[in-house]
Amino acid sequence: MKLVLTEEEQFLKDTAKSFADERSPITHFRSLRDHNDPLLWDQDLWNEMTKLGWPGILIPEEYGGSDFGITGISVILNECAKTLTPSPLFATGVIGAYSITNFGTEEQKQKYLPKIVNGELTTSLAIDESSHHNPANTEIIAKKEGSNFIVNGKKTFVIDGASADLIILLARTSGNKGDMAGLTLFLVNSDSKGIDKIKLDMADSRNYANINFSEVEIPDSNILGDLETGGETVEDILDIGRIAMASEMLGNAEAAFEMTLDYLKQRKQFGVLIGSFQALQHRAAEMFCEIELTKSSVMGAMKAADEGSNELQRLSSLAKTVAGETLHLVSNEAVQMHGGIGVTDEYDIGFFLKRARVAEQIFGSSKYHTERYANLSGF
């Protein structure tokens, strides 16, 4: 496993960097937020991303994708995160594309994948049911009735849930809360009868929803993967999502750090640049080192995913933990080092703090993944 980007991956990263700088600087995100945009992402920008082929990066060529791998999509998310670019790329281009490609039936692949590639279909993964991520705690029940399942219950904090066309639902078909066994994944059209999406207004101004399911009918043919193997399947999907999210969070941290470093080199107090104060220099140097360690952790996890390494789970938890802790540190220090303007809405650095805390929770916090890492390491 070599911890360097291939030429193709570097090319994708460079393309994404120019795209984010030119097409979606932070002002783009600010404007969506200020206008209370119902999607909280921009359809035109998504169309442009689609033209670049990004939603199809994890999708095989026979369905119209490019099959460039987890590293490929993750480096794009990393660059987009530097300007806080909102888009369905994570929930659809990573989670939806990966889930259906790897676990869908031929019929499901033909039905959904080409539509993901051309930007027509967006997806969301409905997994959590309380304020803390924990797939084993799934309680929502899918009850077999004839050739259908009937679902009742509530999912919370569904990413892109306010607008996604297709919901990938984790539900219990047997067993009890706390068991990873007895879980099944379903593909559900979000306009099915009995689905009520309640848009959430969260600190990072992104697209989330709580979703109520009331007597929702799902045909057998919409099971993703096999009945009662949803626990294993969803862990696999989540690990890919965690790696991609860690790469996004690394991008957030890199950008917040760079803005802070620039500020230290411009702001004068007591007649000198504040960047000449050792109290700030050492903290900046520590952030630099933590970001370097995060780059390596994310790189290790991305490569493990693409190479199908048996270390994937441990490296995924490592990457999510390290990225979470680094972003936590950098987002706090960034605000502090900016002083008064750091806590104003007018200045962008606060966006990174708000995004950081939400991203830290997505698919498990650093605490959750530290525990998982210890479990997987045998202590």
Partner: protein, 400 residues
């Protein structure tokens, strides 16, 4: 068969014939183990340590990439990889520990004259001469460039007067490579030279320093009207600071690797924080029973894992300049300290054992090892100096 396959076969055969049984893994545990540093006065508890050193030294394989004309192995990078792999397969012990190899030889190769290289490199490679480093002085720690040991030009020789401190194993070393002030009027960085001094010269004396660990790996070294031939100057007069900085990078890389190697070696030797915690605090379903210790240990393990991946990434990227050397020194040593703190804490009062029959040998060794790690983040440039280097050279933050 291509050349590399042939080399592998030859190497395998050579090792098979020449690496003594007690120098391989799985050796009889009753045979005493030497820490082999070589030198004029080397003593061996196990005669096979000496045989192994002589054979490897003769091949030049203690420094396999150095050209043969200087006593090295003259191997290509690919061949060195093969050699390391074949040594790993039989668990061959490293034949020689040497500051000459780790620090001085790279400097000699870059700055030494042909004559100096021919004189010193073969003796380093064969382990015939043991070197120590004369950098720090009582008044010059982090501010190394303020050093005051002076070398006056008396025509044929330099006359050296002054004192060095923290010279590792100076009482056992044969030669010292030292920074001396040759330009008292020049700005401080521009008046320093790099000088090689035979420790047997009249006027050189050493005195061991006892550390908080109770051990004495360091000395004070005194120079009292010591006459040093002018041919022992490395590089230009007053250009020693450039060489010193270069050498410090080798030293920092070495110390940070030492920390990581310790983590790897520790895992096999029983001195591993997880096994200590499981043994002393109890185990439940394969987990460390006390959740507070467990979470602290897990966080530390994750940091070490991330650091290991960073070393690997730097290698895969082809190795970068001094910036990463400072980061590796900082993290290698800080992680090593933290790991020892965790091992001591998880051992409870037994982790503070000092001496006597009531305590286990491993516990007593751990206590000393823990105390020794406190020096890791001071020697070779303190952690704070590394942060300064990163701030200024990597991040380009302004000086006041």
């Amino acid at each position: 068969m291509n050349d590399l396959d042939k080399f592998r076969e030859d190497t395998k055969n050579w090792l098979d014939k020449n690496c003594p049984p007690s120098m391989r893994s799985g050796a009889d545990p009753t045979i005493p183990v030497d820490e082999v540093w070589g030198g004029r006065n080397a003593k061996y508890k196990n005669p096979e340590s000496k045989i192994w050193l002589d054979r490897m030294g003769e091949k030049g394989w203690t420094m396999p990439t150095v050209p043969k004309e200087y006593g090295g192995g003259g191997l290509t990078k690919e061949e060195v990889k093969v050699l390391n792999e074949e040594m790993f397969v039989i668990g061959a012990k490293s034949p020689l520990l040497s500051f000459g190899i780790w620090m001085l030889a790279p400097v000699l190769l870059e700055y030494g004259t042909e004559e100096q290289k021919k004189e010193h490199l073969p003796k380093i490679i064969k382990g015939e001469i043991r070197w120590c480093q004369g950098y720090s002085e009582p008044g010059s720690g982090s501010d190394l460039a303020s050093l005051a040991t002076k070398a006056e030009d008396t025509g044929d020789t330099f006359l050296v007067n002054g004192q060095k401190v923290w010279t590792s194993y100076a009482d056992k070393a044969d030669w010292i490579f030292a920074l001396v002030r040759t330009g008292p009027k020049e700005p401080k960085h521009d008046g320093i030279s790099f000088l090689l001094i035979d420790m047997e010269t009249k006027g050189v004396t050493t005195k061991p320093i006892t550390l908080i660990s109770g051990k004495s790996p360091f000395c004070e070294t005194f120079f009292d009207d010591v006459e040093v031939p002018k041919g022992n100057l490395i590089g230009e007069l007053n250009a020693g600071w450039t060489i010193a900085k270069k050498l410090l990078q080798h030293e920092r890389a070495f110390i940070s690797n030492f920390g990581l190697a310790g983590a790897v070696a520790g895992a096999g030797s029983g001195r591993d924080v997880v096994s200590i915690a499981k043994k002393r605090l109890g185990e439940e379903n394969g987990k460390i029973k006390n959740s507070f210790y467990r979470s602290e240990i897990a966080s530390h393990k994750i940091k070490e894992h991330a650091f290991g991946l960073t070393l690997k990434r730097a290698g895969d990227e082809g190795g970068k300049a001094s910036a990463t050397a400072s980061m590796f020194k900082l993290y290698g040593t800080e992680h090593n300290k933290k790991r020892h703190e965790l091992m001591v804490a998880a051992s409870g009062v037994d982790g503070l054992a000092w001496d006597g029959d009531e305590f286990d040998e491993n516990d007593k060794n751990l206590t000393r090892a823990w105390l020794r790690t406190k020096g890791n983040s001071i020697e070779g440039g303190t952690s704070e100096v590394q942060l300064n280097v990163i701030s200024k050279r990597v991040l380009g933050l302004p000086t006041q």
